[in-house]
C-alpha cells in the first residue's frame, strides 16, 4: 500500500506525485477550514495549505506515514490569519441555531429548542476558548485527528494536548448546559480509548 510518506518521498523525483496527496485530502482540509471560517476563507486556506506543504515537503517527518497531522497543522496556522472571520462565523452560528428551531414541526419543538440552545451556547463558548485550546478541540472534533496527530500538528507534547482537550471540553460542556451524566460517560470513554477516532 502506498502511504502518504511514500507519496511525499516520490514527489522529490516526480513532483506530480504530490497531486495524489491533494486528491486524497483536499476535501477534508476544505471542510475543516469551512467549518471554522466559512466557504470563502476555506478555498483560500485549502489551496494555500497544499502550496505551503509542497514548498516545505522536505520538512515532512517520514517517521509518520499519515500526512494529515502535517496538513491540518499548516491549515491551522493559515487559519490564524482569519480569526476575525472565525469569530463572526461563531457569532452568526450562535444566532442562527436559535432561529432554525422554530421552523420545525410542533411535536419536536421542545427537543429542537433544547438542542438549538445547546448548539448556540456551544458556538458562543468556542469563542471564549484560548487559541491553543480551540485549535486543539477543533482538530479533534472537526479534523478527526488523534491525540498524537494533534501533538504533531501543533508541535506540543501529547500530555499538553490531553490537558488542553480536557479543559476545552469541560468549558464548552458547561456552556452548552449538558448534564453531568454525560461527563461520566465521556470520562469513562476517554480513559479506555484516549483517541476515540484513532
Amino acid at each position: 500500500m502506498t502511504t502518504d510518506s511514500d507519496l511525499i518521498r516520490r514527489s522529490s523525483k516526480d513532483p506530480q506525485a504530490f497531486a495524489a496527496l491533494y486528491d486524497k485530502y483536499s476535501r477534508a482540509v476544505y471542510r475543516y477550514a469551512a467549518t471554522r471560517a466559512g466557504d470563502s476563507v476555506a478555498e483560500d486556506v485549502m489551496s494555500q495549505t497544499f502550496l505551503v506543504a509542497y514548498e516545505s515537503r522536505d520538512a515532512f517527518d517520514h517517521e509518520w506515514d499519515d500526512a494529515r497531522p502535517w496538513l491540518f497543522g499548516i491549515a491551522t496556522n493559515l487559519l490564524r490569519r482569519h480569526h476575525r472571520t472565525e469569530a463572526r462565523r461563531l457569532r452568526a452560528f450562535a444566532k442562527a441555531a436559535g432561529r432554525d428551531s422554530y421552523e420545525d414541526g410542533a411535536d419536536r419543538v421542545a427537543e429542537r429548542l433544547d438542542a438549538a440552545a445547546k448548539s448556540s451556547n456551544l458556538a458562543a463558548a468556542i469563542r471564549t476558548l484560548s487559541t491553543a485550546d480551540r485549535e486543539c478541540l477543533l482538530l479533534y472534533a472537526w479534523a478527526d485527528l488523534t491525540y498524537e496527530g494533534i501533538a504533531l500538528a501543533t508541535g506540543v507534547p501529547v500530555g499538553t494536548v490531553r490537558s488542553r482537550l480536557n479543559r476545552a471540553r469541560r468549558i464548552i460542556r458547561d456552556a452548552a448546559g449538558l448534564l453531568n451524566i454525560d461527563e461520566e460517560e465521556i470520562e469513562h470513554g476517554r480513559a479506555i480509548t484516549p483517541a476515540r477516532n484513532a
Binding site: D23, A42, E43, F50, N77, S119, L138, D182
Partner: protein, 338 residues
C-alpha cells in the same frame, strides 16, 4: 448527546467543497509544482474560451498546418537559429571545449553555487492576484566518488522582489522560509534511494550524443509532448541540463551547437548581466506564452553564466522584461563540505 456530537453536528451542517473549488486548488498546486504549466496556462479559463473560438472554420486549416510541421520533422525545412546566434553558439562551443573540466581529487568536492530567482503567484478567495519573486541561494557539494554523500545547502525561497504593495503584504504574511541542509548518497535527497537519484548520472551524461543533430533528436525524444512547443521545450531542456553545473565540456559544446539548430533562436541581449556577471544572452520567444527563454554564456570561456525566463508582455503587476525565473551558477572545487 455530548459536546463532541454537538460539535460534529456543526461540521456536518457545513457545505462541502464544490468540485470547482477543488479544481481551482489543484490547478494552483500543479502550477506551483511545474512553473512550466504557469507559462502554459496563464489563464486557463481564457485559454479554454480561445480554444472553443478556434473550433470553427479555421480549425481544418490549423490542423493541417500542425500536421505538416510534424511530418517534416526537425530537418532543414524548419530552419535553425539566426546566423548571429549560431555564430555565438558555435564560437562558445569551440571555446568551452578547451576549458578543462573541474575534476575533484580524492576526498574533494565539486562545489556548485547558484543564485535562483523563482516567480511566485497567489490568488486569494476574492479573486485578487499577487505576484512576487523569491530568491533561493543553493550550494551543492558533489564528492569525487559520486556514490558517497552529497551535501546540498538551500536557503529556502525568500520573497525578495515586489511590484506592488499588496503583494508585498501578502508575501510577508506567509510563513518565512528557513534554510536547510540535505544529505544523500549519489544525490538521493529527500529520502530518495541513491540508485533513483534525480540528478543526471555520469553514465546518463556520457550517453548523450555529441553530434549536434543527433543530440537535438535525442532531446526531441526526451521532451516529446511536453511544453508549449517542440522548439521552445528543446531550449528549456538544454538550459535545465546546463544549469545543473554537472555537464562536461564536450557535452556542453554539443548542447550549444544543438541550440544553434533550433528555429527561432536569436541573440536576445549582447550585454546581458546575471547576478552581476556579464555575458551574451541567446534565447527564443515563445509566442503562445509571451515569454522568452535565454541562456547566458560568458564568451571568453564559453562557460554558462546562467539561464533565465523573461516576460515579453506584462503579467499582473510585473512589467514586460521582468525575468521571472533565473539561475546563475558558479562551479569550483572544495576540500570540505559542511
Amino acid at each position: 448527546m455530548d459536546e463532541l456530537s454537538l460539535l460534529r453536528e456543526m461540521r456536518d451542517r457545513t457545505p462541502i467543497a464544490t468540485d470547482a473549488a477543488i479544481d481551482r486548488g489543484r490547478t494552483k498546486l500543479l502550477q506551483r509544482i511545474d512553473p512550466q504549466s504557469v507559462k502554459l496556462q496563464k489563464n486557463p479559463r481564457r485559454r479554454a474560451v480561445m480554444r472553443w473560438g478556434l473550433a470553427s472554420a479555421a480549425t481544418v486549416l490549423v490542423a493541417a498546418v500542425l500536421v505538416g510541421g510534424d511530418v517534416f520533422g526537425p530537418g532543414p525545412l524548419r530552419g535553425a537559429a539566426t546566423a548571429q546566434a549560431a555564430e555565438v553558439l558555435n564560437a562558445a562551443a569551440e571555446t568551452t571545449i578547451q576549458t578543462a573540466d573541474l575534476v575533484p581529487g580524492a576526498g574533494q568536492y565539486l562545489k556548485i553555487q547558484s543564485t535562483n530567482i523563482w516567480g511566485s503567484a497567489a490568488v486569494a478567495a476574492d479573486g485578487s492576484e499577487y505576484e512576487w519573486l523569491d530568491t533561493e541561494k543553493s550550494t551543492m557539494y558533489i564528492p569525487a566518488n559520486r556514490e558517497e554523500e552529497w551535501v546540498w545547502e538551500r536557503s529556502g525561497r525568500i520573497p525578495t522582489t515586489f511590484f506592488d504593495d499588496k503583494s508585498k503584504e501578502y508575501a510577508s504574511s506567509m510563513k518565512p522560509a528557513e534554510g536547510y541542509v540535505l544529505r544523500g548518497n549519489n544525490g538521493g535527497f529527500y529520502g530518495t534511494p541513491p540508485e533513483q537519484s534525480s540528478f543526471p548520472s555520469q553514465d546518463a551524461l556520457a550517453a548523450f550524443p555529441r553530434d549536434p543533430s543527433a543530440l537535438l533528436a535525442e532531446i526531441h525524444r526526451q521532451t516529446d509532448g511536453k511544453g508549449q512547443s517542440k522548439d521552445g521545450e528543446s531550449l528549456v531542456f538544454i538550459a535545465d541540463l546546463l544549469r545543473t553545473g554537472m555537464v562536461p565540456a564536450d557535452l556542453r559544446a554539443a548542447l550549444y551547437k544543438a541550440a544553434a539548430l533550433i528555429p527561432g533562436v536569436t541573440v536576445t541581449d549582447e550585454q546581458a548581466t546575471l547576478d552581476g556577471r556579464k555575458g551574451i544572452a541567446i534565447g527564443r520567444v515563445e509566442t503562445a506564452s509571451n515569454r522568452r527563454q535565454d541562456i547566458i554564456i560568458d564568451p571568453t570561456t564559453g562557460l554558462l553564466i546562467g539561464e533565465r525566463e523573461v516576460l515579453t508582455e506584462p503579467r499582473g503587476s510585473m512589467p514586460a522584461g521582468t525575468a521571472t525565473t533565473w539561475t546563475a551558477i558558479e562551479t569550483t572545487i572544495s576540500d570540505t563540505a559542511p
